[in-house]
Protein backbone atom coordinates (compact mmCIF):
# COMPACT_ATOMS: atom_id res chain seq x y z
CA UNK A 1 0.00 0.00 0.00
CA UNK A 2 1.26 3.42 -0.87
CA UNK A 3 1.87 5.39 2.32
CA UNK A 4 -1.18 7.41 3.17
CA UNK A 5 -0.77 11.04 2.16
CA UNK A 6 -0.56 13.49 5.01
CA UNK A 7 -3.79 15.54 5.01
CA UNK A 8 -4.92 18.68 6.81
CA UNK A 9 -7.06 18.12 9.86
CA UNK A 10 -7.56 21.86 10.24
CA UNK A 11 -7.12 24.73 7.79
CA UNK A 12 -7.04 28.26 9.18
CA UNK A 13 -9.20 31.08 7.91
CA UNK A 14 -8.33 33.57 5.17
CA UNK A 15 -9.05 36.41 7.59
CA UNK A 16 -6.01 35.53 9.68
CA UNK A 17 -2.61 37.13 9.06
CA UNK A 18 -1.12 33.90 7.74
CA UNK A 19 -2.26 30.46 6.67
CA UNK A 20 -2.22 27.89 9.41
CA UNK A 21 -2.59 24.16 8.67
CA UNK A 22 -2.68 21.43 11.26
CA UNK A 23 -1.70 18.14 9.61
CA UNK A 24 -2.73 14.56 10.23
CA UNK A 25 0.85 13.83 11.36
CA UNK A 26 0.51 16.43 14.08
CA UNK A 27 2.71 19.06 12.43
CA UNK A 28 1.53 22.66 12.50
CA UNK A 29 2.46 24.61 9.36
CA UNK A 30 2.47 28.32 8.82
CA UNK A 31 2.61 30.21 5.52
CA UNK A 32 2.70 33.95 4.94
CA UNK A 33 0.19 34.93 2.23
CA UNK A 34 2.85 36.59 0.07
CA UNK A 35 5.14 33.58 0.25
CA UNK A 36 2.30 31.21 -0.53
CA UNK A 37 1.38 33.20 -3.63
CA UNK A 38 5.03 33.34 -4.76
CA UNK A 39 5.25 29.55 -4.46
CA UNK A 40 2.22 29.01 -6.69
CA UNK A 41 2.87 25.71 -8.47
CA UNK A 42 0.70 26.37 -11.52
CA UNK A 43 2.11 26.24 -15.02
CA UNK A 44 1.62 29.96 -15.57
CA UNK A 45 3.68 30.85 -12.50
CA UNK A 46 6.32 28.16 -12.61
CA UNK A 47 6.53 27.60 -16.33
CA UNK A 48 5.54 24.33 -17.91
CA UNK A 49 8.96 23.01 -18.80
CA UNK A 50 11.35 25.51 -17.33
CA UNK A 51 13.07 24.93 -14.03
CA UNK A 52 12.12 28.33 -12.69
CA UNK A 53 11.87 27.85 -8.95
CA UNK A 54 9.13 30.37 -8.32
CA UNK A 55 7.80 33.79 -9.27
CA UNK A 56 9.81 36.93 -8.76
CA UNK A 57 8.62 37.94 -5.29
CA UNK A 58 8.77 41.61 -6.26
CA UNK A 59 6.10 41.05 -8.88
CA UNK A 60 3.56 40.18 -6.20
CA UNK A 61 2.07 42.99 -4.09
CA UNK A 62 2.85 42.59 -0.40
CA UNK A 63 -0.84 43.05 0.38
CA UNK A 64 -1.86 39.91 -1.49
CA UNK A 65 -4.58 37.87 0.26
CA UNK A 66 -6.70 34.90 -0.70
CA UNK A 67 -10.43 35.53 -0.95
CA UNK A 68 -11.10 31.88 -0.20
CA UNK A 69 -9.35 28.53 -0.19
CA UNK A 70 -11.01 25.53 -1.79
CA UNK A 71 -10.24 21.88 -1.33
CA UNK A 72 -9.38 19.93 -4.49
CA UNK A 73 -10.46 16.31 -4.44
CA UNK A 74 -8.63 14.46 -1.69
CA UNK A 75 -5.18 15.84 -2.30
CA UNK A 76 -4.80 19.60 -2.60
CA UNK A 77 -5.91 23.14 -1.78
CA UNK A 78 -6.63 25.88 -4.27
CA UNK A 79 -6.55 29.51 -3.13
CA UNK A 80 -8.47 32.14 -5.03
CA UNK A 81 -6.24 35.22 -4.72
CA UNK A 82 -7.12 38.88 -4.49
CA UNK A 83 -5.16 39.49 -7.72
CA UNK A 84 -7.60 37.20 -9.53
CA UNK A 85 -5.18 34.30 -9.82
CA UNK A 86 -6.75 30.93 -9.01
CA UNK A 87 -5.09 28.23 -11.10
CA UNK A 88 -2.62 27.10 -8.47
CA UNK A 89 -3.39 23.67 -7.06
CA UNK A 90 -1.19 23.10 -4.01
CA UNK A 91 -0.90 19.36 -3.29
CA UNK A 92 -0.81 18.47 0.40
CA UNK A 93 2.67 16.94 0.02
CA UNK A 94 4.01 20.16 -1.49
CA UNK A 95 2.49 22.27 1.31
CA UNK A 96 3.62 19.96 4.06
CA UNK A 97 7.13 19.09 2.89
CA UNK A 98 8.34 21.70 0.42
CA UNK A 99 7.13 25.17 1.39
CA UNK A 100 6.18 25.11 5.08
CA UNK A 101 7.63 28.25 6.69
CA UNK A 102 7.83 27.04 10.28
CA UNK A 103 11.31 27.24 11.87
CA UNK A 104 11.75 23.50 11.92
CA UNK A 105 10.96 23.02 8.22
CA UNK A 106 12.99 26.02 7.10
CA UNK A 107 16.01 24.67 9.01
CA UNK A 108 15.49 21.16 7.61
CA UNK A 109 15.36 22.42 4.03
CA UNK A 110 18.39 24.65 4.54
CA UNK A 111 20.37 21.70 5.87
CA UNK A 112 19.34 19.56 2.93
CA UNK A 113 20.43 22.27 0.51
CA UNK A 114 23.85 22.57 2.12
CA UNK A 115 24.27 18.81 1.84
CA UNK A 116 24.93 19.61 -1.85
CA UNK A 117 22.20 18.04 -4.06
CA UNK A 118 19.33 20.47 -3.60
CA UNK A 119 16.22 18.43 -2.95
CA UNK A 120 13.81 20.99 -4.26
CA UNK A 121 11.24 18.60 -5.54
CA UNK A 122 8.95 19.41 -8.38
CA UNK A 123 5.48 19.72 -6.94
CA UNK A 124 3.14 17.04 -8.13
CA UNK A 125 0.98 18.54 -10.76
CA UNK A 126 -1.79 16.27 -11.94
Amino acid sequence: MSPKMVTPTEVGSVVESALRILWSDGHLSRYGWHGLRVHCPCAACKGEWTTRRHLDPASIPSTIRPLRIERVGAYALRPVWSDGHSTGIYPFNYLRHDICECDECVARRAAAEIAEQPTARQPDRP
Binding site: M1, S2, M5, R71, G73, A74, P126
Partner: protein, 376 residues
Protein backbone atom coordinates in the same frame (compact mmCIF):
# COMPACT_ATOMS: atom_id res chain seq x y z
CA UNK B 1 -66.30 14.12 4.82
CA UNK B 2 -69.16 11.65 5.13
CA UNK B 3 -69.77 9.94 8.42
CA UNK B 4 -69.56 6.67 6.56
CA UNK B 5 -65.96 7.23 5.58
CA UNK B 6 -63.94 4.36 6.91
CA UNK B 7 -60.48 5.82 6.54
CA UNK B 8 -59.41 9.36 7.23
CA UNK B 9 -57.03 11.67 5.42
CA UNK B 10 -54.15 10.93 7.76
CA UNK B 11 -54.43 7.20 7.13
CA UNK B 12 -54.42 7.73 3.39
CA UNK B 13 -51.41 10.02 3.60
CA UNK B 14 -49.63 7.52 5.80
CA UNK B 15 -50.32 4.77 3.26
CA UNK B 16 -49.08 6.94 0.43
CA UNK B 17 -45.75 7.33 2.21
CA UNK B 18 -45.05 3.78 1.07
CA UNK B 19 -45.44 4.74 -2.57
CA UNK B 20 -42.14 5.74 -4.14
CA UNK B 21 -41.45 7.72 -7.23
CA UNK B 22 -39.86 4.99 -9.37
CA UNK B 23 -37.13 7.30 -10.67
CA UNK B 24 -36.36 9.40 -7.65
CA UNK B 25 -36.55 6.57 -5.11
CA UNK B 26 -38.32 8.65 -2.56
CA UNK B 27 -41.82 8.64 -1.15
CA UNK B 28 -44.29 10.68 -3.20
CA UNK B 29 -45.46 12.26 0.05
CA UNK B 30 -41.97 13.34 0.95
CA UNK B 31 -41.55 14.75 -2.55
CA UNK B 32 -44.75 16.82 -2.14
CA UNK B 33 -46.27 15.06 -5.11
CA UNK B 34 -49.60 14.48 -3.34
CA UNK B 35 -51.70 17.54 -3.90
CA UNK B 36 -55.13 16.58 -2.69
CA UNK B 37 -56.95 13.70 -1.08
CA UNK B 38 -60.72 13.32 -1.05
CA UNK B 39 -62.58 10.56 0.70
CA UNK B 40 -66.23 9.85 0.02
CA UNK B 41 -67.70 6.61 1.30
CA UNK B 42 -65.49 3.86 -0.05
CA UNK B 43 -63.95 6.02 -2.72
CA UNK B 44 -60.60 7.73 -2.31
CA UNK B 45 -59.55 10.31 -4.89
CA UNK B 46 -55.96 11.41 -5.06
CA UNK B 47 -54.58 14.31 -7.06
CA UNK B 48 -50.90 13.74 -7.65
CA UNK B 49 -48.39 16.02 -9.31
CA UNK B 50 -45.82 14.64 -11.70
CA UNK B 51 -42.46 16.31 -11.92
CA UNK B 52 -42.72 16.67 -15.68
CA UNK B 53 -45.61 16.11 -18.07
CA UNK B 54 -43.74 13.53 -20.11
CA UNK B 55 -42.94 11.38 -17.09
CA UNK B 56 -42.18 7.99 -18.61
CA UNK B 57 -43.34 6.07 -15.57
CA UNK B 58 -46.69 7.76 -14.94
CA UNK B 59 -48.58 4.49 -15.28
CA UNK B 60 -46.36 2.90 -12.64
CA UNK B 61 -47.07 5.71 -10.21
CA UNK B 62 -50.83 5.49 -10.77
CA UNK B 63 -50.78 1.72 -10.36
CA UNK B 64 -48.74 1.87 -7.14
CA UNK B 65 -51.06 4.46 -5.62
CA UNK B 66 -54.15 2.43 -6.52
CA UNK B 67 -52.66 -0.79 -5.23
CA UNK B 68 -51.53 0.68 -1.94
CA UNK B 69 -54.81 2.46 -1.16
CA UNK B 70 -57.00 -0.49 -2.09
CA UNK B 71 -55.31 -2.47 0.65
CA UNK B 72 -56.73 -0.05 3.24
CA UNK B 73 -59.81 -1.43 4.99
CA UNK B 74 -63.08 -0.21 3.55
CA UNK B 75 -61.60 1.38 0.43
CA UNK B 76 -63.50 0.16 -2.61
CA UNK B 77 -62.49 2.52 -5.38
CA UNK B 78 -59.39 4.59 -5.93
CA UNK B 79 -59.32 7.44 -8.39
CA UNK B 80 -56.01 8.99 -9.33
CA UNK B 81 -55.73 12.12 -11.38
CA UNK B 82 -52.37 13.44 -12.42
CA UNK B 83 -51.23 17.00 -12.76
CA UNK B 84 -47.84 18.51 -13.42
CA UNK B 85 -45.73 20.55 -11.06
CA UNK B 86 -45.22 24.24 -11.66
CA UNK B 87 -41.62 25.35 -12.27
CA UNK B 88 -41.53 26.68 -8.70
CA UNK B 89 -42.68 23.38 -7.27
CA UNK B 90 -40.10 21.59 -9.38
CA UNK B 91 -37.32 23.83 -8.14
CA UNK B 92 -38.40 23.20 -4.55
CA UNK B 93 -38.28 19.47 -5.21
CA UNK B 94 -34.82 19.64 -6.76
CA UNK B 95 -33.62 21.71 -3.83
CA UNK B 96 -34.98 19.09 -1.50
CA UNK B 97 -33.31 16.23 -3.37
CA UNK B 98 -29.92 17.89 -3.52
CA UNK B 99 -29.93 19.64 -0.26
CA UNK B 100 -30.75 19.30 3.37
CA UNK B 101 -32.56 15.98 3.20
CA UNK B 102 -36.00 15.18 4.51
CA UNK B 103 -37.61 18.31 5.83
CA UNK B 104 -34.43 19.90 7.12
CA UNK B 105 -35.71 23.22 8.37
CA UNK B 106 -32.64 25.13 7.31
CA UNK B 107 -32.82 28.51 5.73
CA UNK B 108 -29.97 27.65 3.36
CA UNK B 109 -30.63 28.75 -0.19
CA UNK B 110 -31.53 25.87 -2.49
CA UNK B 111 -28.58 26.60 -4.74
CA UNK B 112 -26.12 26.07 -1.91
CA UNK B 113 -27.45 22.58 -1.38
CA UNK B 114 -27.26 21.57 -5.01
CA UNK B 115 -24.61 18.94 -4.66
CA UNK B 116 -24.54 15.21 -4.95
CA UNK B 117 -24.26 13.62 -1.57
CA UNK B 118 -20.92 12.01 -2.40
CA UNK B 119 -19.38 15.40 -3.04
CA UNK B 120 -18.98 15.70 0.71
CA UNK B 121 -16.20 13.84 2.47
CA UNK B 122 -18.71 12.42 4.96
CA UNK B 123 -20.89 10.79 2.29
CA UNK B 124 -21.90 7.19 2.88
CA UNK B 125 -21.66 6.42 -0.84
CA UNK B 126 -18.49 4.51 -1.64
CA UNK B 127 -16.99 5.72 -4.89
CA UNK B 128 -14.80 3.20 -6.68
CA UNK B 129 -13.03 4.13 -9.88
CA UNK B 130 -12.08 1.28 -12.18
CA UNK B 131 -8.82 2.19 -13.87
CA UNK B 132 -6.22 0.64 -16.13
CA UNK B 133 -2.94 1.68 -17.60
CA UNK B 134 -3.68 0.64 -21.14
CA UNK B 135 -6.86 0.11 -23.08
CA UNK B 136 -8.51 -3.15 -24.00
CA UNK B 137 -7.97 -4.94 -20.72
CA UNK B 138 -11.70 -5.28 -20.12
CA UNK B 139 -12.23 -2.43 -17.71
CA UNK B 140 -15.85 -1.83 -18.72
CA UNK B 141 -16.61 -5.54 -18.61
CA UNK B 142 -15.19 -5.72 -15.10
CA UNK B 143 -17.18 -2.62 -14.11
CA UNK B 144 -20.57 -3.93 -15.23
CA UNK B 145 -20.00 -7.37 -13.78
CA UNK B 146 -18.90 -6.00 -10.42
CA UNK B 147 -21.93 -3.71 -10.43
CA UNK B 148 -24.24 -6.63 -11.17
CA UNK B 149 -22.55 -8.78 -8.54
CA UNK B 150 -22.81 -6.08 -5.85
CA UNK B 151 -26.42 -5.45 -6.80
CA UNK B 152 -27.14 -9.17 -6.50
CA UNK B 153 -25.98 -9.09 -2.89
CA UNK B 154 -28.57 -6.43 -2.16
CA UNK B 155 -26.41 -3.31 -2.52
CA UNK B 156 -27.68 -0.15 -4.19
CA UNK B 157 -25.28 0.43 -7.04
CA UNK B 158 -24.67 3.07 -9.68
CA UNK B 159 -22.41 2.93 -12.72
CA UNK B 160 -20.97 6.09 -14.19
CA UNK B 161 -19.41 5.69 -17.62
CA UNK B 162 -16.53 8.15 -17.58
CA UNK B 163 -15.01 6.67 -20.74
CA UNK B 164 -16.46 9.55 -22.69
CA UNK B 165 -14.81 8.78 -26.05
CA UNK B 166 -15.01 5.02 -25.81
CA UNK B 167 -18.35 4.64 -24.05
CA UNK B 168 -19.54 1.07 -23.98
CA UNK B 169 -21.44 0.71 -20.72
CA UNK B 170 -24.91 1.21 -22.30
CA UNK B 171 -24.41 -1.76 -24.62
CA UNK B 172 -22.79 -3.96 -22.00
CA UNK B 173 -25.62 -3.43 -19.55
CA UNK B 174 -28.27 -3.47 -22.23
CA UNK B 175 -29.63 -0.03 -21.43
CA UNK B 176 -30.56 2.57 -23.97
CA UNK B 177 -32.86 5.53 -24.13
CA UNK B 178 -32.73 9.05 -22.89
CA UNK B 179 -32.54 9.99 -19.25
CA UNK B 180 -35.41 11.99 -17.79
CA UNK B 181 -34.57 15.62 -17.21
CA UNK B 182 -36.24 17.50 -14.40
CA UNK B 183 -35.08 21.00 -15.23
CA UNK B 184 -31.29 20.66 -14.88
CA UNK B 185 -31.36 17.47 -12.89
CA UNK B 186 -30.67 14.27 -14.81
CA UNK B 187 -32.28 11.04 -13.66
CA UNK B 188 -30.02 8.07 -14.43
CA UNK B 189 -31.42 5.16 -16.41
CA UNK B 190 -31.80 1.87 -14.63
CA UNK B 191 -31.06 -1.74 -15.38
CA UNK B 192 -32.22 -4.28 -12.80
CA UNK B 193 -31.98 -1.57 -10.19
CA UNK B 194 -28.47 -0.48 -11.23
CA UNK B 195 -28.48 3.27 -11.87
CA UNK B 196 -26.53 4.06 -15.01
CA UNK B 197 -25.26 7.24 -16.61
CA UNK B 198 -23.26 7.44 -19.82
CA UNK B 199 -22.54 10.00 -22.47
CA UNK B 200 -24.03 7.33 -24.76
CA UNK B 201 -27.52 8.23 -23.48
CA UNK B 202 -27.04 11.79 -24.64
CA UNK B 203 -25.85 10.95 -28.14
CA UNK B 204 -28.39 10.61 -30.96
CA UNK B 205 -27.16 7.08 -31.69
CA UNK B 206 -24.52 4.56 -30.70
CA UNK B 207 -22.77 5.19 -34.01
CA UNK B 208 -22.13 8.79 -33.10
CA UNK B 209 -18.60 9.73 -32.08
CA UNK B 210 -17.73 12.10 -29.29
CA UNK B 211 -15.18 14.47 -30.81
CA UNK B 212 -14.43 16.88 -28.05
CA UNK B 213 -11.50 18.61 -26.46
CA UNK B 214 -10.67 18.55 -22.77
CA UNK B 215 -12.89 21.37 -21.49
CA UNK B 216 -16.02 19.63 -22.80
CA UNK B 217 -14.96 16.41 -21.13
CA UNK B 218 -14.50 18.27 -17.90
CA UNK B 219 -17.97 19.80 -18.12
CA UNK B 220 -19.58 16.44 -18.91
CA UNK B 221 -17.89 14.73 -15.99
CA UNK B 222 -18.73 17.43 -13.48
CA UNK B 223 -22.33 17.28 -14.71
CA UNK B 224 -22.41 13.50 -14.26
CA UNK B 225 -21.16 13.93 -10.73
CA UNK B 226 -23.00 17.04 -9.65
CA UNK B 227 -26.23 17.12 -11.59
CA UNK B 228 -27.20 13.50 -11.97
CA UNK B 229 -29.58 12.44 -9.27
CA UNK B 230 -27.77 9.31 -8.05
CA UNK B 231 -29.81 9.29 -4.85
CA UNK B 232 -28.49 9.66 -1.35
CA UNK B 233 -29.31 6.01 -0.67
CA UNK B 234 -26.69 4.89 -3.20
CA UNK B 235 -24.13 2.60 -1.58
CA UNK B 236 -21.60 2.03 -4.34
CA UNK B 237 -20.85 4.20 -7.34
CA UNK B 238 -18.55 2.46 -9.80
CA UNK B 239 -16.85 4.77 -12.27
CA UNK B 240 -15.52 3.28 -15.49
CA UNK B 241 -12.48 5.40 -16.36
CA UNK B 242 -10.98 5.72 -19.79
CA UNK B 243 -7.57 4.04 -20.07
CA UNK B 244 -4.56 5.97 -18.90
CA UNK B 245 -4.15 9.06 -16.81
CA UNK B 246 -5.61 11.86 -18.90
CA UNK B 247 -8.10 14.70 -18.56
CA UNK B 248 -10.99 12.60 -17.30
CA UNK B 249 -8.97 11.03 -14.52
CA UNK B 250 -7.69 14.42 -13.42
CA UNK B 251 -11.16 15.94 -13.37
CA UNK B 252 -12.47 13.10 -11.23
CA UNK B 253 -9.50 13.31 -8.89
CA UNK B 254 -10.09 17.02 -8.45
CA UNK B 255 -13.82 16.66 -7.93
CA UNK B 256 -14.30 13.63 -5.68
CA UNK B 257 -13.40 14.19 -2.03
CA UNK B 258 -13.15 10.49 -1.35
CA UNK B 259 -12.69 7.63 -3.76
CA UNK B 260 -10.94 4.32 -4.12
CA UNK B 261 -9.30 2.76 -7.15
CA UNK B 262 -9.37 -0.74 -8.56
CA UNK B 263 -6.80 -1.39 -11.28
CA UNK B 264 -7.58 -3.87 -14.03
CA UNK B 265 -4.69 -5.50 -15.84
CA UNK B 266 -3.99 -8.56 -17.95
CA UNK B 267 -1.62 -11.40 -17.06
CA UNK B 268 0.94 -10.05 -19.52
CA UNK B 269 3.97 -8.82 -17.65
CA UNK B 270 4.51 -6.04 -20.19
CA UNK B 271 1.17 -4.55 -19.09
CA UNK B 272 2.32 -4.30 -15.49
CA UNK B 273 4.57 -1.28 -16.04
CA UNK B 274 1.77 0.58 -17.76
CA UNK B 275 -0.73 -0.31 -15.05
CA UNK B 276 1.70 0.99 -12.45
CA UNK B 277 1.24 4.45 -13.88
CA UNK B 278 -2.43 4.41 -12.94
CA UNK B 279 -1.31 3.62 -9.40
CA UNK B 280 1.20 6.43 -9.56
CA UNK B 281 -1.58 8.84 -10.40
CA UNK B 282 -3.71 7.51 -7.56
CA UNK B 283 -0.85 8.18 -5.19
CA UNK B 284 -0.46 11.76 -6.40
CA UNK B 285 -4.11 12.55 -5.89
CA UNK B 286 -4.46 10.62 -2.63
CA UNK B 287 -6.80 7.92 -3.94
CA UNK B 288 -6.38 4.59 -2.25
CA UNK B 289 -5.73 1.64 -4.55
CA UNK B 290 -7.76 -1.12 -2.94
CA UNK B 291 -6.77 -3.95 -5.21
CA UNK B 292 -5.99 -5.45 -8.58
CA UNK B 293 -8.25 -7.44 -10.87
CA UNK B 294 -6.48 -9.60 -13.42
CA UNK B 295 -8.73 -10.04 -16.43
CA UNK B 296 -8.25 -12.49 -19.33
CA UNK B 297 -6.43 -14.97 -17.14
CA UNK B 298 -6.16 -18.61 -18.26
CA UNK B 299 -8.48 -19.91 -20.95
CA UNK B 300 -10.29 -23.11 -20.06
CA UNK B 301 -10.79 -24.90 -23.41
CA UNK B 302 -13.28 -27.43 -22.05
CA UNK B 303 -14.97 -27.96 -18.71
CA UNK B 304 -12.46 -29.54 -16.38
CA UNK B 305 -9.53 -29.08 -18.79
CA UNK B 306 -6.29 -27.38 -17.78
CA UNK B 307 -6.25 -23.67 -18.47
CA UNK B 308 -4.23 -22.28 -21.39
CA UNK B 309 -2.44 -19.06 -20.49
CA UNK B 310 -2.86 -17.08 -23.69
CA UNK B 311 -1.65 -13.79 -22.24
CA UNK B 312 0.94 -15.30 -19.97
CA UNK B 313 0.73 -15.58 -16.23
CA UNK B 314 1.24 -13.63 -13.09
CA UNK B 315 0.80 -10.03 -14.25
CA UNK B 316 -1.93 -9.30 -11.74
CA UNK B 317 -0.05 -10.84 -8.87
CA UNK B 318 3.18 -9.07 -9.85
CA UNK B 319 1.37 -5.71 -9.92
CA UNK B 320 -0.33 -6.40 -6.60
CA UNK B 321 3.03 -7.22 -5.02
CA UNK B 322 4.70 -4.14 -6.49
CA UNK B 323 1.98 -1.92 -5.12
CA UNK B 324 1.51 -3.80 -1.88
CA UNK B 325 -2.23 -4.23 -2.42
CA UNK B 326 -4.33 -7.39 -2.65
CA UNK B 327 -5.05 -9.23 -5.86
CA UNK B 328 -8.84 -9.23 -5.74
CA UNK B 329 -9.22 -11.98 -8.32
CA UNK B 330 -8.35 -13.48 -11.67
CA UNK B 331 -11.11 -13.60 -14.24
CA UNK B 332 -10.70 -16.53 -16.66
CA UNK B 333 -10.84 -15.86 -20.37
CA UNK B 334 -14.23 -17.14 -21.44
CA UNK B 335 -16.03 -16.33 -24.69
CA UNK B 336 -19.25 -16.16 -22.69
CA UNK B 337 -17.95 -13.05 -20.92
CA UNK B 338 -17.52 -11.27 -24.23
CA UNK B 339 -20.86 -12.56 -25.54
CA UNK B 340 -22.57 -11.31 -22.40
CA UNK B 341 -21.08 -7.87 -22.89
CA UNK B 342 -22.18 -7.76 -26.52
CA UNK B 343 -25.68 -8.93 -25.67
CA UNK B 344 -26.09 -6.55 -22.74
CA UNK B 345 -26.32 -9.26 -20.08
CA UNK B 346 -23.26 -9.42 -17.83
CA UNK B 347 -22.11 -12.98 -17.22
CA UNK B 348 -22.71 -12.51 -13.50
CA UNK B 349 -26.42 -12.42 -14.41
CA UNK B 350 -26.54 -14.88 -17.32
CA UNK B 351 -24.27 -17.57 -15.85
CA UNK B 352 -23.50 -16.75 -12.22
CA UNK B 353 -22.12 -20.23 -11.60
CA UNK B 354 -19.72 -20.25 -14.57
CA UNK B 355 -16.03 -19.94 -13.63
CA UNK B 356 -15.97 -16.31 -14.77
CA UNK B 357 -19.28 -15.55 -13.04
CA UNK B 358 -17.96 -17.00 -9.81
CA UNK B 359 -14.68 -15.13 -10.15
CA UNK B 360 -16.49 -11.80 -10.61
CA UNK B 361 -18.71 -12.45 -7.62
CA UNK B 362 -15.71 -13.30 -5.48
CA UNK B 363 -14.02 -10.05 -6.52
CA UNK B 364 -17.18 -8.11 -5.63
CA UNK B 365 -17.23 -9.81 -2.24
CA UNK B 366 -13.64 -8.84 -1.53
CA UNK B 367 -14.31 -5.33 -2.74
CA UNK B 368 -17.21 -4.97 -0.33
CA UNK B 369 -14.96 -6.25 2.44
CA UNK B 370 -12.21 -3.78 1.62
CA UNK B 371 -14.64 -0.86 1.26
CA UNK B 372 -17.65 -1.66 3.41
CA UNK B 373 -20.72 0.53 3.41
CA UNK B 374 -21.30 2.11 6.79
CA UNK B 375 -23.59 0.08 8.99
CA UNK B 376 -27.10 1.41 9.45
Amino acid sequence: MSSRAIVDREQVLEALRDVQDPELHKSIVELDMVKEIQIRDGTVSVDALLTIGACPLRETIVASIEERLRSLPGVKTVQVSLGVMTPEQRQALIGKLHGGGAGAPTGAPASAGRRSSFLTAESATRVIVIASGKGGVGKSTVTVNLAAALQATGRRVGVMDADVYGFSIPRMLGVSGQPTLIDNMIIPLERDGIRVMSIGFLMPSEDEAVVWRGPMLHKTLTTFIGEVHWGDDLEYLLIDLPPGTGDVSITLAQTLPQSHMVIVTTPQVAAVKVAQRAAKMAEKVNMEVIGIVENMSGFIPAPGADPVYIFGRGGGLRLAELLGVPLLGEIPLDPAVREGSDAGVPIVLSAPESPAGRAFRAVAGRLAERVPVPAG
